[in-house]
Point group: C2
Chain length 174, copies 2
DNA sequence: CCGTTCTTTCTGTAAGTTATGAAATGTGCA
DNA sequence: TGCACATTTCATAACTTACAGAAAGAACGG
């Protein structure tokens, strides 16, 4: 499969973006390719298009399936697995956000609660206070996040719009 | 400086968390140490406490200052620079969020607009549509983010609370 | 079943990154 | 100005991660 200039640009940028957020470059590129292509693509074609080893593509697809971002499709008369991602960017973003929260934020909450309890027990007043602030922050953020993922983009826009007004009205800006 | 069990736990976890989000482990650990300590600490003490090279601490502190997370303080009768971070977790989170948006999301917006224009020019209808959806998503998210960073935790909680209600009321959930 | 095709797993190596210690530079005091 | 202390820079070593290619495994068709 031959990529257009536009597609190449998008895929490369997406790869770079991935690395900055702790996501493997190839994984991100494969996802970008599937997104921009918009139809099921067999693994060997992905490998050829991106100029990476077939095995690397296999691993990346597995990873993407683990995130729920990619699903397998089959075409009549073709034994090969084909892979596709979703068109709904918002939905994909949520998948990743929810999963990262589960993997990274939730354990942090656990750690903070444990550390706080220990600081309490050991009478470390200063640590306890700071850990408490941190925990409180994470709890607020988590709460906001839970609401956030329930929203559609339209709902989000409305909430933001009214939220800004609400904020001014109530004078809770401080 | 001798760390308590609680402090060690917190610092190590913070370091791991950092690596997962593309932030250097030592950088994150130094920040955690400063946060949990809550007072200005000289660089050599940081190095000793974390068992890392003095030069590594120097680099990490510079990085943290670049993010605006750490500032220098001086103590009377001590020529050494001392370093401290802020107590306000919310404020620090915003600093990082704003900066990462600037460094990573803004260039993505630029790329998407360029790619979209090019797809338009080259008559790539399918690509254009998908890039358009992606751009729209990023624009909505950016907009929401701009409002978000203006809020205090209290304001955020209120907006979330009323936002949920608003959403149901307006039936914009789809 | 056997051969073919497709996919995944495994392993050595390359690439990239991070950390170190030494050297260089900077800073303030006598 | 010279000395002592403090900090930064830099080359290299240590480590980590990513990748390709080989080999094994699975699915299918004849």
């Amino acid at each position: 499969m031959k990529l257009t200039a536009t597609e190449t640009k998008f895929i490369l940028h997406w790869g770079e973006m991935g690395t900055r957020w702790g996501i493997n470059r190839t994984v991100a590129q494969v996802h970008a390719l599937l997104y921009i292509t918009g139809r099921p693509v067999p693994a060997d074609e992905i490998a050829e298009t991106l100029s990476v080893a077939r095995s690397n593509v296999s691993t990346s697809l597995r990873e993407l399936q683990g995130w729920g971002l990619v699903k397998v499709a089959h075409l009549l008369g073709d034994r090969r697995d084909h892979f596709e991602t979703f068109h709904d960017v918002w939905a994909m973003f949520k998948l990743v956000a929810v999963e990262r929260k589960r993997r990274e934020v939730d354990p942090t909450l656990v750690m903070l609660r444990e550390a706080l309890a220990q600081a309490e027990k050991d009478g470390e007043k200063a640590s306890k206070e700071r850990l408490g602030h941190m925990l409180e922050f994470f709890e607020t953020l988590t709460e906001a996040f839970e609401e956030f993922v329930k929203m559609s983009p339209g709902a989000l826009r409305k909430v933001v719009k009214y939220g800004g007004k609400l904020q001014k009205l109530l004078g809770v800006g401080t």
